[in-house]
C-alpha cells in the first residue's frame, strides 16, 4: 500500500470549501427558528438601574426578551474559569461571578444586559434598539497598571485593588544574588500589545430544545465542543450532560478565541427551552471586537544578568497581565503556566524568577490567542537577549550560541518547572543563518542605505511547550480538567474506516493529516478513511484543539486506538487461520503467520468481525471498533530560529519586512504542505502583532479600535518572501514523534521583526519601539532623536 505520511497530500476538505458547500454555524437554519440579538452596555462600568423590556416586546415580531434577572431566577450559574492559580503565600486567585447576562452591574463595553428574540433578525435588531436600559455610569479603568493604583475604580467589590492573583515562580534570592554579582545586567521594559484575534468567521450559536426527549442541542463555533458541553451543563445551566449535544460544524478559524465557553452559548440554549423555539445568534464584526476574548496585554520589566563572556547567569521578570473584566475560561493559566514556565527559552540560564500580577479592568476578557503566553515569553527573552548582545558588543547569533542548551543535555530540566525532552537549537540557528545569507547582510544594508533606506536584521530563537498537556502536571498546577485526548477507530464490515477524534479542525486540515496517519498505520487506501469531529453525540469525548495539540495528543490517541484494532484483528485472524494469536504478525494491512504462507488482509478480517458465523463467543467478540484515551507523559517542545530583515523609509516611517527565514523543528511531519501553511499563517499574525495590530482603549474603557476601519491586520501586500526549512528531533514520548506546529509562527515572529527594526534604527539612536511599530511611531522616534540632536 502506498505510504502517505510525509507526503504533501492535497486536502480532502477543500472540495466543499471551494464550492460553497461548507457548513458553518450561520449557514444552518432550524425549522421554526427565532433570532437573538443581545443588548450590550455602551458603558465600561455602570450600575443597571432598570431595564424596560416592554419597549422591546412592543416591537412587531419580537417573541421574548430575557434579562440577567430572568436567568438568575431560573438558577442559571456563572461562566466558570478552568484553571485555579495559587498566588504567593498560598493565596488562591479571586474568581468573581460572571453571569451570562449582567444582573446589576456592567463591567465592559459589550457586557450583555438582555437578549431580544424575534421572528426575524431585523425584528430582533429593532427590538434591541427599542429596549430601554437606565444606567448609572461609574468611573472605569482600562489599563492594568492604572487599575492597581490606589484610588483606581474597582471592577469587582470582592477584588480590592483589582488584583486577581499575585503569583511567582523560581528562586528569587538566587536570582537577586546573581544579578548583584553579574558582570553586566541588561534591563528591558516592554509592553506586549493587546490583540483582537479576529477569526474571519464571527462567532455564532443556535440553541434547540426538544421537549419530547428533554434534550438540548447547541450548534456553536467552537474549537472544543465537549468542553463547552461540560462547562455549560455542569456549571451554567445545570442540566444533565447526557441530555445535551454540542455540535461544532465547519468553523472558520479560531486562533484560541473559540476555545472558551461564552455567555451567548448558554443564553441561546437556555432561551430555546424558555421560548419553545430554536434560537439563533450570529455575531457581527463590531460585536466580535467587543466580545471575543482578546489576547496578550502585558506590561513587563525584565533583567538579564551575564558574566564577562556573555554567558547568562540569571533572568528576572515582573509582569502585569490584564485579565479584562471577568476571568475567561483559561485566562488565569495564560500569563502563568503558559508564560513564566517558558522563560528559559533555548538557554541554560541557571536561575530565573518571575512574578506575575493578574489584574481586572473594565475591558473585554483576555484569554488565549495563538501562542497564548508563549509569544509573550519569547518576546521578553528574544528582545532582551538581542539588546544584551548589542550592549556587550557581541554578534546576536554568537551570544545565543554561547548560551544554547546543547543536544547532549537533554532531557533538560529548566529552572522554571519544565523538562525539555529533545532539541537541537544550534542546528536550527545555523540553518536559518545559512538560508538567510546572514553573512552578507551588511552588503544588503549598504545597498539599502544607497537608496536612502535603513535596513536591519533580527533573530528570534523561540521555544514553546505544546501538546497540552500531561493531566497530572496540569492538575498539580491548578487545571480543573484533564488534558488528554480521545479517539475511536471503527471499521465498517466492508472495510472502510471512520475515525472519531476529539480534536477539532477549524482550518488545520485534520481530515487530511489524520487520514494519512490512519491509512498508513492500518495499511488501507487513504480514501477509505473518514475523519469525524465536532459532535459530542458521535465522538466519545474530546478536549479539543488549541495549544498545537491536535497531532501530538489527538493523533496519538488515534494511534493508540489503531493499536487496539490491530491487537483485536490479530485475534480474529488467528481464529480464521486456526493459528495462535501470538504468532500473527501485522504489516501494511496484512495479517500473516511466521513460517507459513497464511495471510489475510485487514479488510477480510474486518468483514469476518461483523459476520462472525463461527466465533467462539466466550473468547472472541464480534466487531472491530476500538476507542482510546491518550494522556501525554510530557509537553512537546517545538523550537526554531527565525531571521527577519526589514527596511525602513525614514521619510515616512514605513517598515517593510523584506525577507523572512524560518527554520522550525516540529519533530516528525505528516503533511509538510499543511505544516508550512500553518507556519505561513502564524508568521503573518506575528508580523501583524509587530507592525500593525494594536487594540486601543480610551482611558474610560471605550474600545477605540472597534472595527476593521481602526484595527489593522495583515493583507496580501504585507507579506514578505519567505524562506523555509525544517530540522528534526522527533518528540521522544509520543508514538508519532510529532511536536505540533500551529503556533510557532505567532510565537517566534514578533521579536524577530522588532529586533530587525531596532537594528535598522540604531544608526539614528533609536533603541526601542513598542508594538505595533506603526509608521507614525517609527517616524516620531526618528524625528524625536533628530530634534534632540539639533
Amino acid at each position: 500500500m502506498a505510504k502517505h505520511v510525509g507526503e504533501r497530500m492535497k486536502r480532502v476538505e477543500d472540495g466543499r470549501f471551494l464550492t460553497g458547500r461548507g457548513t458553518y454555524t450561520d449557514d444552518i437554519s432550524k425549522p421554526g427558528q427565532t433570532y437573538a440579538v443581545f443588548v450590550r452596555s455602551p458603558h465600561a462600568h455602570a450600575k443597571i438601574k432598570s431595564v424596560n423590556v416592554d419597549s422591546a416586546l412592543n416591537v412587531e415580531g419580537v417573541v421574548a426578551v430575557y434579562t440577567g434577572a430572568d436567568m438568575a431566577a431560573d438558577g442559571v450559574g456563572g461562566l466558570p474559569c478552568g484553571w485555579q492559580v495559587i498566588g504567593k503565600g498560598g493565596t488562591p486567585m479571586i474568581e468573581p461571578a460572571h453571569p451570562p447576562l449582567a444582573v446589576d452591574t456592567v463591567r465592559y463595553v459589550g457586557d450583555a444586559v438582555a437578549v431580544v428574540i424575534a421572528e426575524t433578525k431585523n425584528a430582533a435588531k429593532d427590538g434591541a434598539e427599542a429596549l430601554e436600559v437606565d444606567y448609572d455610569v461609574q468611573p472605569a479603568v482600562a489599563s492594568a497598571v492604572k487599575a492597581m493604583e490606589s484610588g483606581a475604580p474597582q471592577v469587582h467589590d470582592e477584588v480590592p485593588g483589582n488584583v486577581c492573583y499575585d503569583w511567582e515562580l523560581g528562586d528569587k534570592d538566587a536570582v537577586d544574588k546573581a544579578i548583584n554579582d553579574a558582570h553586566h545586567v541588561t534591563t528591558f521594559d516592554l509592553v506586549n500589545n493587546r490583540l483582537i484575534p479576529n477569526a474571519i468567521e464571527p462567532r455564532a450559536a443556535i440553541g434547540e430544545y426538544d421537549p419530547a426527549g428533554d434534550n438540548y442541542t447547541l450548534t456553536t463555533t467552537s474549537q472544543n465542543p465537549h468542553v463547552i458541553r461540560l462547562l455549560m451543563c455542569a456549571f451554567v445551566l445545570q442540566i444533565p450532560e447526557h441530555k445535551c449535544r454540542v455540535v461544532a460544524p465547519d468553523v472558520g478559524g479560531g486562533f484560541g478565541s473559540k476555545i472558551f465557553h461564552y455567555a451567548e452559548e448558554a443564553v441561546v440554549t437556555w432561551a430555546s427551552k424558555k421560548a419553545g423555539r430554536p434560537v439563533k445568534w450570529t455575531s457581527d464584526r463590531s460585536e466580535a471586537f467587543l466580545t471575543d476574548a482578546h489576547g496578550r496585554d502585558h506590561v513587563t520589566k525584565a533583567q538579564l544578568a551575564m558574566d564577562k563572556d556573555g554567558k547568562f547567569t540569571a533572568l528576572k521578570v515582573a509582569t502585569v497581565a490584564n485579565m479584562g473584566a471577568y476571568l475567561s475560561t483559561f485566562a488565569s493559566s495564560i500569563p502563568t503556566y503558559l508564560y513564566a514556565t517558558l522563560l528559559a527559552g533555548q538557554y541554560t540560564t541557571p536561575v530565573i524568577y518571575a512574578e506575575v500580577k493578574a489584574v481586572f479592568t473594565h475591558t473585554t476578557p483576555v484569554d488565549a490567542y495563538r501562542g497564548a503566553g508563549r509569544p509573550e515569553a519569547t518576546y521578553v527573552i528574544e528582545r532582551i537577549v538581542e539588546i544584551a548582545a548589542r550592549e556587550m558588543g557581541m554578534d546576536p547569533a554568537e551570544i545565543r550560541r554561547k548560551n544554547f542548551i546543547q543536544p547532549d543535555q537533554f532531557p533538560y530540566e529548566t529552572p522554571v518547572a519544565l523538562t525539555y525532552d529533545t532539541g537541537n537549537y544550534q542546528a536550527s540557528l545555523d540553518r536559518a543563518l545559512e538560508l538567510s545569507d546572514y553573512a552578507n547582510f551588511e552588503k544588503r544594508r549598504e545597498e539599502s542605505a544607497k537608496n536612502g533606506k535603513l535596513r536591519g536584521v533580527g533573530l528570534s530563537c523561540y521555544i514553546e511547550a505544546c501538546g497540552i498537556a500531561p493531566s497530572a502536571v496540569a492538575g498539580a498546577l491548578g487545571a480543573r480538567a484533564g488534558l488528554y485526548e480521545a479517539a475511536e477507530v471503527r471499521f465498517a464490515p466492508t472495510g472502510t474506516v471512520s475515525v472519531f477524534t476529539g480534536s477539532h479542525s477549524h482550518g488545520q486540515g485534520h481530515e487530511t493529516t489524520f487520514a494519512q496517519l490512519t491509512a498508513d498505520r492500518l495499511g488501507i487506501p487513504v480514501e477509505n478513511v473518514d475523519i469525524v469531529h465536532g459532535d459530542t453525540d458521535r465522538i466519545p469525548f474530546g478536549m479539543g484543539t488549541y495549544g498545537s495539540r491536535s497531532l501530538a495528543v489527538g493523533g496519538s490517541a488515534i494511534v493508540k486506538a489503531i493499536d487496539k484494532i490491530i491487537v483485536k484483528g490479530k485475534k480474529i485472524a488467528a481464529h480464521m487461520m486456526e493459528e495462535n494469536a501470538d504468532d500473527v504478525e501485522f504489516d501494511d494491512g496484512v495479517f500473516s503467520v511466521k513460517g507459513t504462507n497464511k495471510s489475510l488482509t485487514i479488510g477480510e478480517v474486518a468483514f469476518q468481525a461483523y459476520v462472525p458465523h463461527n466465533f467462539p463467543h466466550d473468547e472472541l467478540e464480534p466487531g472491530l471498533d476500538e476507542s482510546a484515551f491518550y494522556d501525554p507523559n510530557n509537553f512537546t517542545y517545538p523550537a526554531g530560529a527565525y531571521v527577519c530583515e526589514v527596511e525602513v523609509d525614514p521619510d515616512t516611517g514605513e517598515c517593510t519586512v523584506e525577507k523572512f527565514t524560518a527554520v522550525d523543528d516540529f519533530g516528525n511531519l505528516i503533511n509538510p504542505m499543511i505544516v508550512e501553511g500553518q507556519v505561513h499563517g502564524g508568521i503573518a499574525q506575528g508580523i501583524g502583532q509587530a507592525l500593525l495590530e494594536g487594540c486601543v482603549y480610551s482611558d474610560d474603557g471605550q474600545l477605540v479600535t472597534g472595527s476593521y476601519m481602526d484595527y489593522a491586520m495583515p493583507r496580501a501586500e504585507h507579506i514578505p518572501d519567505y524562506n523555509f526549512d525544517f530540522t528534526t528531533t522527533p518528540c521522544t514520548h509520543n508514538p508519532i514523534g510529532a511536536k505540533g506546529c500551529g503556533e510557532a509562527g505567532a510565537i517566534g515572529t514578533p521579536a524577530a521583526v522588532i529586533n530587525a527594526l531596532t537594528d535598522a534604527l540604531r544608526v539614528a539612536g533609536v533603541d526601542n519601539i513598542e508594538m505595533p511599530a506603526t509608521p507614525l511611531k517609527i517616524w516620531q522616534a526618528l524625528n524625536a532623536n533628530k530634534q534632540a540632536a539639533e
Binding site: 492535497k10 486536502r11 476538505e13 477543500d14 472540495g15 466543499r16 470549501f17 471551494l18 464550492t19 460553497g20 458547500r21 461548507g22 457548513t23 458553518y24 450561520d26 449557514d27 431585523n122 479576529n198 477569526a199 474571519i200 468567521e201 464571527p202 465547519d250 468553523v251 472558520g252 478559524g253 486562533f255 457581527d284 464584526r285 463590531s286 477549524h506 482550518g507 488545520q508 486540515g509 504542505m673 499543511i674 508550512e676 501553511g677 507556519v679 505561513h680 499563517g681 502564524g682 508568521i683 503573518a684 499574525q685 472595527s707 476593521y708 476601519m709 491586520m713 495583515p714 493583507r715 496580501a716 501586500e717 507579506i719 519567505y722 509562527g745
Partner: protein, 156 residues
C-alpha cells in the same frame, strides 16, 4: 417597503419580493440559501462576501438586492462545472490556498477578477487585486501561488 425583483443567479432565473433594506448578501444567503457567500464584517472590508455582478466583483454586503434587479450574479456555487472544479478553484486546492475556508469563496471570486484582467499577474497585481480580502489563516503566501497558477490555467 417591499419590492419585486428578478435576477439571474448562477445561470438560474430567480424572482422574489424583498424589503428595501435587504442586502444582496442576505438575499443570496437567506432567500436563495446560497450560503457559500459569507459575511465576515460589517464595514465592507473583509471581502468574504465577494460575488460577481454583471461580470465585476462586488462586495455583496455593500449592495442592496434591489440594485441587482435584472442583473447577472455569479457566486462561488456557480463556478464548478458539475464535479469539475473551475481552474481557479483547482489552483487553490493544488497550492493549499485555503485553511478554514471561510474567506475562500470571496478570495476566489476576487482572484477571478485578477485573472480576468491578466493571465500572468505579478505579485503587485495580486496584492492590489486582493487588497479588499482578509485571510487570517494562510498568511497569503499560498494564495499568491494559487492565483498565479489559476490565472495561467484560465489563460491557456
Amino acid at each position: 417597503m417591499s419590492h419585486a425583483i428578478s435576477m439571474t443567479v448562477n445561470g438560474r432565473s430567480v424572482s422574489a419580493t424583498v424589503e428595501s433594506r435587504t442586502l444582496l448578501t442576505e438575499f443570496l444567503r437567506d432567500n436563495l440559501r446560497l450560503t457559500g457567500t459569507h459575511v465576515g464584517c460589517d464595514t465592507s472590508q473583509c471581502g468574504a462576501c465577494t460575488v460577481h455582478v454583471n461580470g465585476k466583483s462586488v462586495k455583496s454586503c455593500t449592495m442592496l438586492a434591489v440594485q441587482c434587479d435584472g442583473a447577472e450574479v455569479l457566486t462561488i456555487e456557480g463556478l464548478a462545472n458539475g464535479e469539475d472544479l473551475h481552474p481557479m478553484q483547482k489552483a487553490f486546492n493544488d497550492h493549499h490556498g485555503l485553511q478554514c475556508g471561510f474567506c475562500t469563496p470571496g478570495m476566489v471570486m476576487s482572484a477571478l477578477e485578477v485573472a480576468d484582467n491578466n493571465s500572468d499577474p505579478s505579485d503587485e497585481d495580486i496584492a492590489k487585486g486582493l487588497a479588499g480580502n482578509y485571510c487570517r489563516c494562510t498568511g497569503y503566501e499560498n494564495i499568491y501561488r494559487a492565483v498565479k497558477a489559476g490565472a495561467k490555467a484560465m489563460g491557456s
